[in-house]
Symmetry: C2
Subunit: 190 residues, 2 copies
């Protein structure tokens, strides 16, 4: 499917735009290709864009003071990703975003998103609901971290993203759950 068609179908789940409006919105996005392992955002970067995934899988992650990697989010097709703290507050990146597989994305700048939201009320509605869903997912992730039961968290993850099991190496699933590979191995064999 063409990139614009994927974006069009994605927006149409939440808002109605005329063909002319959609073409105008789409003209603010830029298609980009990344290779497996390639960094999109690195800690310390200036962050000006957010990314809509067309194909492949991204991960946003954080390396803590003990040099342990934690995964904040996987981003699969039609998911959005960025360092939103850095993007919205115009500060330097505190997290990393890179590619688990080869990936195609559409990027839009912070300034262009704000311009479109101001010009087209339905676009503002779309982005409000996009962030509402992101906020709720983030709160759920926090609750899952607070709940000690690793088995339950593993099952929640597999229900939320069934495609993940085959798409993502096991050590990255362990880094998302905050458990060791050995613990993860016990979970998916039980």
């Amino acid at each position: 499917m063409q990139a614009e068609e994927i974006l069009k179908q994605h927006l149409a789940k939440t808002i109605s735009l005329t063909d002319e409006q959609f073409a105008y919105v789409a003209s603010h996005f830029k298609q980009q290709s990344y290779k497996k392992g390639q960094a999109i955002i690195s800690e310390g970067d200036k962050v000006d864009h957010e990314y809509f995934v067309l194909s492949g899988c991204l991960k946003s992650f954080f390396i803590n003071d003990d040099v342990k990697m934690y995964i904040l989010q996987f981003a699969m097709p039609t998911w959005w990703a960025s360092d939103y703290n850095a993007l919205y507050n115009q500060t330097r990146a505190t997290i990393n975003l890179d590619c688990i597989t080869d990936a195609e994305v559409l990027s839009i700048s912070n300034a262009d998103r704000e311009k479109l939201c101001n010009e087209l009320h339905p676009v503002e509605h779309f982005f409000r609901w996009r962030t509402n869903k992101g906020f709720v997912a983030s709160q759920k992730r926090l609750l899952s971290f607070m709940n000690n039961d690793a088995k339950k968290r593993y099952e929640e993850l597999m229900t939320l993203y069934p495609a993940l099991y085959n798409m993502v190496p096991k050590h990255l699933i362990a880094a998302y759950l905050g458990v060791s590979r050995e613990t993860l191995s016990r979970l998916y064999h039980s």
Copy 2:
């Protein structure tokens, strides 16, 4: 200060409304008083409203499978609180919201917020940015949970909410940080 004036000043930081538009928006909020310790949302409740804090301090919290309490968020004056997962997805509450002190709030229903966002583009803009900020705060909270350094997390919390130290009992600050009272005591005496 009158409740409406607090809401007016809060909205005016992000959007411009005419006096007539503001009066219309304000007419959808309802003022409510709660006593210290009183529950606003309990696990299992149907959730139809969100709450804008006028005075006092609320906490949203979660009891895990080991009956350990974790605090998701403190909500001080001009902060918003609800179980947003339950509110947006029209499911039952999975977290609790109650009052650390006596509190005055303005409540608005899910349906009324959506109606106002649809009728007034600036109101949709306001709520998009309100959620953007909540999303970023939630991501920061997640990063703070992933980072092992309890001392750094304590300092971040005190920078973020300086009023908290005097307003909130120490065992609740410990429950927010996910540390024991003994560890917390070492942190604030060091």
